[in-house]
Symmetry: none
Subunit: 222 residues, 2 copies
């Protein structure tokens, strides 16, 4: 089995639907483990390492929403997609209180489910990142710089993107050309990088981003 494959835990009691989903996901080269009740879902959800959980709302022995709640209360942060037969606003909202990230109403379109799952995984990979800034941290999901002893600093989209590239490998020097290419794709003025470095310094202080004259910029004090 593909070692790089995304690992998905499927909790679905309806055997036919389960089988269908397993086939669907396997074809898309996911690595799927199907279980058929909440108890098994809880066990595998807690012990295994998964990239996503797909959970039916109506299960024997334990409601899907309860399962989600229990997993969350045990500190599991893996993205969860709920499947449901019901589709009222109240129901859609209720899943969220427990901590599910997405909600698909049966009967669903296969392509839609796959698209949602991809979005879920991408979003999680994109946003679960806390980038270390040496003492402070960049939270990409909320675009904020968090400090242990100060208020969070909010960044704009471009400021965040720039800082993210510079902070990806601490100590490494990034050239203006590289930064311009990766962050300011459609900017004509090469000065844009300078300007945004200026903005970041104004918000975060001058110790964070250092200039290496003639080369570019790098992170940190050392």
């Amino acid at each position: 089995m593909d070692l790089d494959a995304r690992r998905v835990l499927l909790v679905e009691d309806d055997r036919r639907l389960s089988e269908l989903l397993v086939r669907l996901l396997t074809v898309e080269s996911y690595d799927v483990l199907p279980v058929f009740d909440g108890q098994a879902g809880l066990h595998h959800g807690l012990t295994g390492r998964w990239d996503a959980l797909v959970i039916d709302r109506t299960l024997p022995a334990m409601e899907g929403v309860d399962l989600v709640r229990r997993l969350r209360s045990r500190g599991i942060t893996t993205p969860i997609m709920l499947l449901t037969a019901r589709g009222t606003t109240e129901d859609r909202v209720e899943g969220l209180d427990a901590g599910a990230e997405d909600y698909v109403v049966k009967p669903f379109d296969s392509d839609e489910l796959l698209a949602r799952l991809r979005a879920l995984l991408r979003r999680h990979a994109d946003t679960s990142t806390m980038i270390d800034l040496g003492g402070r941290r960049l939270d990409v999901a909320t675009r904020r710089v968090l400090s242990p002893d100060a208020e969070p600093v909010e960044l704009s989209a471009q400021e965040c993107a720039l800082l993210r590239v510079i902070a990806a490998n601490p100590g490494r020097v990034r050239t203006r050309e590289e930064l311009h290419r990766r962050v300011f794709q459609n900017a004509d003025s090469p000065n844009a990088v300078d300007t945004y470095v200026y903005y970041l310094r104004r918000k975060l202080g001058h110790g964070m981003i250092r200039t290496v004259r003639g080369l570019g910029y790098r992170l940190g004090p050392s």
Copy 2:
């Protein structure tokens, strides 16, 4: 009458069955109000505060399923148990689709009904209706925002649903797309989210919901 007692609204047109159920529930120290048609059920369901509703499926003036649907569409989240003479799968599904939590087929065993009712109440109590908003609280059941030093603020169904999603994971940013999909399923204009954020801010002040430009919205100041 016991102030701590669980308040149950019973909507049942058959006088003999109604009386039987009232006696049964009263003995178990529930606080029961019997009404005998859908109109009265709707009125009391909307205006009173109940821990559970027990509704017969066949009623004069309004079908039980319709009553459930109407109550749900008005944002009532109180758990509902349906009573029915029919027992086909189709009937069951229809009742659940309307938003009922449980379904008991007549003639039923008294102990079974009581057990089901207890389970219903316990399950509902687990899913706490209070959501923390950082200083204030959202009571989902009554759709009110409660403040320690101010009058409660009443929210409409959609306002409440939106706030609930945003407040589900504090600090997390919810995209417009996500909010639109979950709360405004039947809306064509993506602007609906903006509008309801505007309404909420007008009612709750501008500090509660923050915009993260280009991403979405999130809760609270920190």
